[in-house]
Amino acid sequence: MGALLVAILVVPLATSLACLKASARLARALSLTSGAATFGLAVALIPSHQITTALGGWLRVDALSVVFLVAVTFLYATTTIFAIGYVRTGSGPVEARYSRRFFAGLNLFAWAMAMAPVVNGLALLWVAVEVTTVVSALLVAIDDTDGAAEAAWKYVLIASMGLGIALLATVVMYYAGSTVLGGSYELSYANLLGAATRFPPEIVRLSFGLAVLGFGSKMGLVPVHTWLPDAHSEAPTPISAMLSGSLLTVSFYAILRFYQVTVRAIGPDFPRAVLLVFGLASLVLAALYLARQHDLKRLLAYSSVEHMGILAVGMSFSAPIAIVGVLLHVLAHAAAKSTAFFGAGSVIRKFGTKEMSRIQGGIGALPWSGPMLVLAVLALSAMPPFGIFRSEFLIVEGGLAGSSTAVPAVLVVFVTLAFLGLSWFATQTMLTPTPDGVVRGEENAWMPVSMVMGLAVLVLLGVHPPPQLSSLLERAAAELGAHR
Amino acid sequence: MAGTELAPAEIQVLQDLTILVFAPFVSGAIAHLEARLQGRRGPRILQPYYDLAKLFRKETLVPEDASWVFLAGPVVAFACYLTVPLLIPVLTAYPLPLGYIGDILGGAFILALAGFAVALAAVETGGPYAQLGSSRAMTFAALVEPSILFITFTVALVTTTDLPYFEAAQVRSSFGQAIYPAHLLATVAFFLVVLSDTGRIPVETHASTLEFGMIDEARTLEHSGPPFALLKWGSAMKQLILYVILINVFAAPWGLAGSRQLGPVLLAIPIFIGKALCVGAIFAVIDNSFSKLRLFKITEFMAAAFLLAVLAVLVLYLGGR
């Protein structure tokens, strides 16, 4: 089992290094196999009921880690498929250099995001998230446009400052531990969780607040989300998919680790209140902004902010079923958002623009990607039988089981608002007759195939989640203190 | 002779006389030093005395529309400047009987009253430059107030009073006091306040008569004769008073007489003048090193002084020293 972890550590990194030197075809083949292999390794970890460690304690995986690892690696696998179809294979040196950099960066990015759930301890977690920031900033800027340069600068500035706050949160938590565990100790989860009940409460509160603010800036929580729409819309589409689908979730994972320790130290009331505030703000603001978007990828970016808000609000509910819903939502959102971005990429490629007012008749122009994009957008709006419906249902059910019904009601209202915004887009751009000047037909087979995989997973999660997966989700929820 | 004791009233009068008599001397010495630093021969050190004597012999001219306020202003200011030395530790380390009639804030009020009287007299004249100078002087005095307040708070937090004598005693109590962070910050902040209140670079320049940059100098443009002499004497006294507070309360309160014996009290006079000359030398060096700030940038200077004063209070609040 430990070997699996080491393999997850090594495979994407090695692929990334190889892509720096390999030819375009080899790089694509390597990325494809690496994505599939890493996903396979992650799935292999699902059934295990105990905590797996490797490398003498540097790596540690429990049920919570596996949930996020599966989400991240699934996205890695489908994105490599999409990227093979998306990145133009030209013969010139410019295209070759772009392709080399792109695939090396893609694999490195996936490696960094796979590292975060796997490393042991808050300090290494921070390092992993910092590496993801650095790599993704370079990837956002890889397209040579004004918008990309602007978005990359804003992103790296805001995300780095947020991570500076998160580092402060880590240090403060370390201090809280040092009052119990002495001056010099490893920040591993085992140490922290073991001694958490004796931590001084004020200090832990401060640490959690700083962590939500700091990691929240990378997760896209309002008001520190301002980099998100720009970065997600200006980056190349495969990168946007990974940003929305897995980078945000990795940041959420970091917050959840802090939540785990905080709940054990001071009880769940304060963390839930903090998450509720940020979550509601994100949900409300995103739903309102969704309505006035005219850029396709920005629309999807704001949808990501909304879903991150749903995750935070879900964590603030006290019923265990809500936490199970949150974790299921992590998986389902990864699949749905990536599929939506892939479809958007095909559409943008076909019509040559991101402006929704200039896109008409998507279904006719793209016989496979078009309908699948519509399905993905419906999935994002929590339409059955897709997975997001099930997860949001669980969250709302958990919320209604709690003391107040106001918050779940607000949740439902704003999710509906977001649905309206998204469905307006779907009807205007996809379900209209195709204009004459547009060439019908898919560009290549890779791009729709990636979407098929995403939709298949969504249906699976929505209709009948495999029992092993359900048991994994419940174990992860228990680790987060859901039984309290 | 050294064994005789002075009555407290005599020591108070002696404090006043010290400030009165030596203020022009200190001014003259600073001007002379500044000129020497610039490579010129400079005026005589005792030149201000000759100037005052000359002015007292001249006639007084009053603008047609001015009222009695115009002539009363310099007198009121002079009276205020004679009152303040009663409150502050000029010669002695212990508070004198009249020293309790005002604390640091009281002293600041009296100095402000003096400035107000002069400004009022200037406004009376109706001359444009005098009015310009008055309004500027009042504005900058208001801007400096928050810093003075916070410095007073610092003193209060350290000594639980705001009598200057106790702060001086605190500073004298041990050698390591000099680098207490709050004390350092308060001293530097007060140094900046003195810079602006005595009208030195970078706030105002003594060296030129350019009206557009004048603040304090412009207020006295219309006076002549004995009132003008009182104004000049008064501003020199104000400078020396501020030096007293800077030196004998914050920076270097050593050498003050500890008893009422004649010897130590008389000795305190040259010691104090010596320290004042050192501070004056620092100001002269600053005069020659920096250029005057443009008027709208003076707010930055005030903000810097305010920052230091606030930090001093914060340091004390956090249990530092």
């Binding site: 650095v134 201090y175 004020e202 720009d230 200006e234 | 390591g176 920052l307 340091v315 249990g319």
Partner: protein, 224 residues
Amino acid sequence: MAAVGASPSTLTDAAEVVALLVLLSEFAMLRSSLSRSQVRLYAFQSLCVSVLAAFVAATRHIGALYVLMSLSFVLKVIVVPTIILRLVREVRVDVTASHRLGVASMVLLAIVLSVFGVFVFGRLPIHSRSLPILALALAAAVILVAFLLVIVRNDVVSQAVGFFSLENGVSLASLVLAAGLPLIVEVAFLFDLLVAVVVFGVLMRVHHGRARTLSTRALDRLQG
């Protein structure tokens, strides 16, 4: 706390003064208008933090901290300023930073933020054996003023320097709170800083290459 020579309390006072210098240099960065002087102020601030690190290493007898101190000294006082200064020299166009508020207003706002930071951190029940609690409160103030610096400044160099000074504030806070953090972790943090510097440098060049200027006033195309 054993110390050589002078009494421990005097050394504590000296440490407090150095910590004050860290905050004061942050304020000076706020008001300085030349990019070059901003970078030099950052180097000075990093020097102060290194001095405090050496102080902690000496009084707590943590040998690993000396290694950390020398690494961070080389990186933050020498390497990072050199990289940024080289970029500024190459640009040759804008060496003046620009800001949206007047200096006095910025200083007042920064004072309010510092007071807020000091109050929040000063009231915590923290007992540190490395540095006085004042240093932690000042670190919090530095972080808040660094945020202000990034927000009110209009050019890439000021914003980058603002971010780096935020890292200085966090380093100072970690000296107070976590002096015993395992060395390998601290080295990892420093390595991340180095990589972040590289990325910042790359993106600054990209920005300059596209916009022909170091100003970020034009970065308002993406809105809503």
